[in-house]
Symmetry: C2
Amino acid sequence: MLDSLSDVTFSAELLMIDNCYGRIIASDIVSSEDLPPFSRSTVDGFAVNSGDTFGAKENAPAYLMMNQEVFMGAAPAFVLRKGEAARIPTGGMLPSGSDAVVMLEHAQIASSDMIEVLRSVAPSENVITKGEDITKGEKVLTKGRKLRAQDIGALAGIGITEVMVYGKPVVAIISTGDEIVPPTKPLGLGQIRDINSYTLAGLISEHGGIPVKKGIFSDSYGAIADAVEDSLPDSDIVLISGGTSAGTKDMTSMIINDIGRPGVLFHGVSLKPGKPMIGGMINGKPILGLPGHPAAIVVCFDLFIRPLIEKIGGLATDKYFLKTVKAKMVKNIASAAGREDHIRVHIEDRSGEYVATPVLGKSGLITTLVRADGLVTIPYNKLGLDSGEEVTVELF
Amino acid sequence: MLDSLSDVTFSAELLMIDNCYGRIIASDIVSSEDLPPFSRSTVDGFAVNSGDTFGAKENAPAYLMMNQEVFMGAAPAFVLRKGEAARIPTGGMLPSGSDAVVMLEHAQIASSDMIEVLRSVAPSENVITKGEDITKGEKVLTKGRKLRAQDIGALAGIGITEVMVYGKPVVAIISTGDEIVPPTKPLGLGQIRDINSYTLAGLISEHGGIPVKKGIFSDSYGAIADAVEDSLPDSDIVLISGGTSAGTKDMTSMIINDIGRPGVLFHGVSLKPGKPMIGGMINGKPILGLPGHPAAIVVCFDLFIRPLIEKIGGLATDKYFLKTVKAKMVKNIASAAGREDHIRVHIEDRSGEYVATPVLGKSGLITTLVRADGLVTIPYNKLGLDSGEEVTVELF
């Protein structure tokens, strides 16, 4: 499915940087300024020519004549000559002719117009030189990066207040099931409230998509096919949630195949929970049939939907860290070979060591996810986990 | 500072659950419904009295008479008698008198009104019983919890569409410095753009606060004192950012002491970067003086500001996982004893193993944070890290 998306045309929008936290940048950012725009002192002290201080020490100080003082936020109106020093605050601009700063505590006032330097400084010592942080013409951020707080800080630092970011992928959620009613409606006998579209909407938002709940549709070919055709034009990804019974699954498959090409790419995966998953493409757009169990929704989101949102959202995935912790399993867990198992676990901190306990209960129970802190994956070629084994828990 | 907040009065607001993802819930949630509201089948098959199947096997099947079919979303209009079976879809409501479901593939049609059951089922097998997920009267979520996608799913499942969540703490950012200009303005000589309030705003939002940029103020007692007095009534936390030079630090301390009680609680911490940090309380509200270096901002946020936002925001911190990865250091790093060092590192995935390389450069450079993926902490009693040592990287 990811391969089929290779020629997706990304949308992009120009936004104020204040609105770009967590957004994905749509072009490389090259600085048109030096940062800092001038050489700055990093300490309170005296701007000097470093050469004038070479060899200076407590018992053989260098004597320098005081020139004018440097003030914050202003360019010094003088040139520092050899043998001179100028009082400078942290962040002050080095006067022309100086190349280093002696810290206040390494100098003494010798007379009204002279200081003693008690320690030598190297060139650029206690200075951030012009362009040391960012040089004019330098690429600061690469297209496809998710902007973190400090990245926006860097943009502000070089005077960039608007950037192009990729549009967020729109993900349509079509809930199906003759028994499903919205949480706002009273329940009839045999009916059950919609849980999965609320879980899905949260996961989609959290990972950079825009969830659009299309409503709850009855388990009929016509109703679902209409909902899919209605959703495709305005969506980047279409999810059909529910339809867990064998008949419904076949119907979802049929609908995906009937509406467009290439249609269903896979139906059923070696995964628990999540086995009845259907994946396909219709005219370049991913469409997924999701199992009805709440725990399967979370696993299928992570394995199938998140990567699609990220790719369509323009995220460059070369630098990607999942939120995980290492923990020790406190129980043996069996797993069938030829199937990837995702175990819900609860984590406890036992004197500085995390321990993971499987959350018991059927994957149809939403409370197994409410009680769980994350998932542990048992790869399809592994026959389970031993008590005491170290595992990586992917946190919710 | 956290202790001084013990009698903070949390604000709370009633919101639709659709707007509560990531918010912190302000009261315990008790269900007034059973979930599921009736016993449901988890498979396509036949509802039965489990007792009728005991001992059934391939070569000695149990024969059951077919009653009516169960349809999705409706209550069965019949009672299942002993010796009977009823066709039921996944999610269908068990008819009164049945207590288990035989999977479709474990039964065969014997005649138009009879099936053969080839395998026995235990009571409740292939069934989620009424209230098995959530029982009426059960506490589903505890006050102080940050609502995740599945937690909102659970609320929808029990028909709760609005909940009380805590108000987000308002964090005022007062930028100071005679040399600081906003990124929108042209730069004069000796001036530098505001970076830190953009970084801070992003970190505050990400961790559940509302950042309010109060503007950039000159390094004078009057200007900063006015900004603090102006900010206190509408804010839960006040940050004074900048003022790195020795004189300014003392001025910030003086302002905090002059405006209210108890004033400055600490001035200077054994931390690198972040040493000049000031912390105080004014009439029950935390006020922090932050160092000017971009790298110090990120470290001080994590150690001092985040915990305050979380406490004022009502987060119960008994279950809290930082986003971390384990990595191997690729270099020795020295650290002075009696100081906690926070090292910016870049992480690479080298054939499945993460390796962390320190990002070189002064803490005054924002690009050291742009290039870094996270921070490694060297505790104050440790003299550094060895190459090859496993470290925990707290990811940005």
